[in-house]
């Protein structure tokens, strides 16, 4: 089972679009029509020369046949399948589904994402109810007053021949407590009505932030000018996509850091340097006399139409992903639980020591990428507070000159990872059957 089988469906589509007969195409490429038929129906794997030739005859980029949005779609489908219970979906036919019914497949993934979002919302709300200090204080207050009222009133009712002095005292206490109860109850109602999240759709603040950054292609010309300073504020003020305060706060931090990085590594100078030395973070760090993590962040903010796709993943010392800019052939899970084999996590144990690894995400055909990772200190550690760290992993297209270097096979997360006998595995894979 392999994603590369979906290539067949695309070849068939292209061929039919171009109005070429199967036998004619087979002849031009130099394979038998029956073999082409098997390829087109995703029954035979294809790669290398045959793929290049087919692409040539069909007049398309070979990459259009072998990769693209389908990779994301396939991973989405696998994630969705992973969550399901009962009669499992036919995992071995995932590619076929994506290839033959792309619309339905997209819808399925979209609904899966939506249900994930909703689950998170429910979790957030439940969590808020359980741990909301205001709610628990208010409830405690209400219970206390009710207890006092109940005890006092039953004394009044149950004690025969209670002295007037005591009667008065308990009446007064009940009066006192009941007005306290009224206030408490009113405050509770007000609090619940004015719940901070009356927004129609609640995404996690991180999701909102990433959606905002993605809308802008992770590049902000406004922040590139020397006069920056209020530019971040202005960008936030002009935005109406982010609803939660937390998201705006997170985004502001990211934008301010962007400005700082842009000041240290001005766009024009960086582009001149890149044209000279290529996407070489080491050389850039030296030339601009700055640290590697900053160079990584800066590279991920350059306009994609000039430098091509550049991915970036940032995590904190707990391994939680705090920032992710996607790269076409490298998936990053939305929530926690990324593959422990990523160099991103490796560098957490070796602060300020950069590493470069060729990675290949399992289940993604043969697409290798270059991953460069480095961890840096955040703030200052003390005897009472641990030294915080943050790890950055830059993802670049595979370097043609390093093609001979070994490739490390990694996953996205364990659930959808087919790597056999992996020492880093946390949970069984739904893909292992197919292996």
């Amino acid at each position: 089972m392999s994603e590369s089988t979906i290539i067949g469906t695309r070849i068939r589509e292209r061929r039919i679009l171009s109005g070429i007969r199967q036998s004619a195409l087979a002849k031009e490429v130099g394979i038998s029509p029956s073999y082409l038929n098997l390829i087109e129906h995703n029954r035979r794997r294809i790669g290398g020369k045959t793929l290049l030739k087919l692409a040539e005859v069909l007049e398309v980029e070979p990459s259009l046949l072998s990769e693209g949005a389908e990779a994301t779609l396939l991973n989405g489908l696998k994630e969705a399948a992973g969550e399901s219970e009962g009669d499992g979906p036919e995992l071995s036919r995932t590619e076929e589904l994506a290839g033959r019914f792309p619309g339905w497949a997209h819808l399925l993934v979209k609904q899966f994402r939506r249900s994930q979002e909703l689950e998170r919302t429910v979790e957030t709300l439940t969590d808020r109810l359980a741990h909301d200090p205001y709610l628990s204080d208010s409830l405690h207050e209400v219970i206390s007053t009710v207890t006092a009222i109940r005890a006092s009133s039953s004394i009044l009712v149950e004690t025969k021949s209670l002295e007037p002095e005591w009667q008065n005292r308990f009446h007064r206490n009940i009066n006192e407590e009941s007005s306290r109860l009224a206030e408490g109850a009113e405050a509770l109602v007000r609090y619940l009505e004015a719940a901070p999240n009356t927004q129609a759709e609640i995404k996690s603040p991180q999701d909102e932030m990433h959606a905002f950054l993605a809308d802008h292609g992770y590049h902000f010309p406004e922040l590139e000018t020397e006069s920056a300073g209020e530019a971040a504020e202005a960008l936030l003020a002009g935005d109406n996509t982010m609803v939660s305060e937390a998201a705006r706060k997170l985004t502001k931090e990211v934008l301010l850091r962007y400005e700082e990085d842009a000041r240290k590594l001005p766009l024009r100078d960086v582009m001149v340097e890149i044209n000279k030395v290529g996407l070489n973070p080491e050389s850039l760090a030296r030339t601009f006399d700055t640290n590697m993590a900053r160079v990584f962040r800066r590279l991920a903010t350059l306009p994609e139409n000039e430098v091509g796709p550049i991915g970036l993943v940032v995590c904190d010392g707990s391994g939680s992903l705090t920032f992710r800019k996607p790269f076409p052939s490298f998936s990053v899970p939305r929530n926690a639980g990324a593959c422990a084999l990523w160099p991103l996590f490796q560098v957490l144990g070796q602060i300020l020591t950069p590493i470069r690894v060729r990675l290949r995400q399992a289940g993604r055909g043969a697409e290798a990428v270059q991953a460069l990772a480095v961890a840096e200190k955040v703030g200052r550690g003390s005897f009472t507070q641990p030294q915080l760290v943050s790890a950055h992993m830059l993802i670049l297209p595979d370097d043609p000159e390093s093609r001979t270097e070994t490739v490390r096979d990694v996953g996205v997360n364990c659930r959808i990872c087919p790597l056999p006998a992996c020492p880093a595995r946390r949970e069984p894979s739904i893909m292992s059957e197919g292996f």
Partner: protein, 122 residues
């Protein structure tokens, strides 16, 4: 002379009502209303029974219970815990910490009397 009960609770009107009920039942009631030095009050009063609220200013009732159980003179003194939260988790915590009995607010006066009578045979 009645048995001595020490009520550790911070709500004045609950203190007043519970004290009234217990003293009418023949108990000698002492009260204490903050967590910090509750253990000192226990040592000073040497009560036959302690009624202890879980949510006290200064120190949690569970911590005070630990201190009482760690004190050799009072390790065996019956302790009735009062709490505003009926969650199983709290009940388990109270039992593990050595509470003799556990009562959830709001309680009725009869329940209080039942509890203290069963904990200290008259």
């Amino acid at each position: 002379m009645g048995k001595k009960v020490l009520l550790i609770e911070d709500e004045p009107n609950i203190i007043e009502a519970v004290s009234f009920i217990l003293s009418r039942d023949g108990w000698e009631v002492k009260t204490h209303s903050n967590g910090h030095d509750a253990i000192m009050a226990v040592r000073e009063r040497a009560p036959d029974l302690i009624i202890l609220d879980v949510m006290l200013p200064g120190k949690s009732g569970f911590d005070i219970l630990h201190e009482i159980r760690a004190d050799e003179d009072h390790a065996e003194t019956p302790v009735l815990m009062l709490t505003a939260r009926g969650q199983l988790k709290d009940r388990e915590m109270a039992e593990r910490a050595g509470a003799s009995r556990y009562m959830t607010k709001p309680f009725s006066n009869a329940e209080v009397l039942d509890a203290v009578r069963s904990l200290v045979p008259q």
